[in-house]
């Protein structure tokens, strides 16, 4: 019986994706680079039959997630939510995200939303000032593809330690914004 000293390709991929997820949340607002672009690589490192998920407007991803054995549930019940936040309607739907309970704040949802971090002036979104754990002083950030109404919705949903954790995904770029981060719209 020999020990497997090298990880398989899938193991390396999920390990690397998780490391970026972890550092993105530990250092909010900094752009991390994923080994593979897109939601599927992120989901692969986290989601299995012990989880529930909700996908909006992406049938292919929903099918892929269902293959892991995870349960597709309504947005209000989901552990992991993959949904855009680009229009006021999207944001209204996301107001129902689970925020956990005071005894179990870890039962809150994690939201993965597409965004773009590029420098093109069209639709870059408002300037945001982030502060809180994981941020040395403060960090300013612009994320396009997120409706301006999202940030007030997030603020009203979060009563720390209650609240959802957010990942913004742009191709292979990843920004984590946990509930502990204070976001000010400048």
């Amino acid at each position: 019986m020999s020990l497997e000293l090298l990880p398989t390709a899938a193991e390396s991929r999920t390990n690397a994706a998780f490391e970026e997820l972890m550092w993105a949340l530990a250092r909010p607002g900094l752009i991390r680079r994923l080994p593979l672009a897109g939601f599927a690589a992120l989901a692969e490192s986290l989601i299995d039959r012990e989880c529930s998920f909700h996908v909006r407007h992406d049938a292919a991803l929903a099918e892929r997630l269902a293959e892991t054995g995870a349960r597709a549930v309504s947005l209000a019940d989901a552990d992991y939510v993959f949904a855009p936040a680009g229009s006021p309607e999207d944001v209204t739907a996301l107001a129902g995200l689970r925020v956990g309970t005071l005894s179990y704040p870890d039962e809150a949802a994690t939201l993965f939303a597409p965004a773009h971090f590029g420098q093109e002036p069209a639709g870059r979104g408002p300037r945001l000032r982030l502060s809180g754990p994981g941020i040395r002083e403060a960090i300013t950030l612009q994320a396009g593809g997120v409706d301006p109404s999202f940030w007030p919705m997030r603020e009203s949903a979060i009563r720390y330690p209650l609240g959802f954790d957010l990942y913004l995904v742009d191709g292979d770029g990843l920004i984590g914004i946990p509930r502990s981060t204070k976001v000010e719209v400048l």
Partner: protein, 304 residues
Amino acid sequence: MKLSELTRPWSAFSYGFLDESAKREIRRRILKAIAVPGYQVPYASREVPIARGWGTGGLQVTLTLLKPDAVVKVIDQGADDSVNASSIRKFVSRVGGTVETGDTTQATLIQSRHRIPEEKLREDQILVLQVPNPEPLRPVQPDMSVAREMHADADYGQLWLILYEQLVRSGRIMQGASYPSMVNGRHVMTPSPIPRWDVPKLNRADHLTILSAGREKRIYAVPPYTSVEPLVFDDVPYRVEDHQDKACWRSGVRGFFMNELPQEDGSSLYELSDSHFGIKHIRKAAGEAVSIGETWYRNGRMAR
């Protein structure tokens, strides 16, 4: 969908001993622990081939974070060469093919039992602390369901009562290790049984700390740049151990956390608790080219 698509070729072990589903579960818990610093996230705590209470919590986190280019240091009460530390390090390198080190500055992943190294950790380093008892409220509330409600309500008054009783009985705070500390102004955590000396090293640190209790099945975390404040009274400041005047009998170094070695004649010798830090100083004194990293303490005082 075919069965062959859902399975993978047989192998005796997964990389890093834990299988992917165990790792995914720990990953999910670690992310929640980072999102709510200091809050104890329940997790499954799988079996690993060491007994519970010997570092299984820390080991599971280390194995989850393991990758072939990781450089792993394992500490047991400051020492790299104790049986517990050596065994864990050997196991990790055997199932992960990783590089072992004693040097704090070279490690990417540091698993520790009850000490934080004297050299400052960097932004890219992860400290994994083994925790025997994750519940700071246990001395005042043995029922963990009630303790959870107390955490939910941020009801921590009784912890000050313990400290007050120590003050009244002994004239000073006697809590030597596991000093209860407020994280991010919301959750009180026990920083694992590190000495009082090490608690300020967690406050607004550059590195990420993950604390894991295997037997008690709890993971919690302190992200970088997060406030960790020991509970104190306004008029009784927090004091670390008075070790600034002690010199290590091996290396001659002063001003760091020491182990006391009682001698037959009733006197004591002292030696550096952080064993590899001492080794570096001895090598440097012998003329070897050794680089010693910046330290948290200088001359027995927190340098900040």
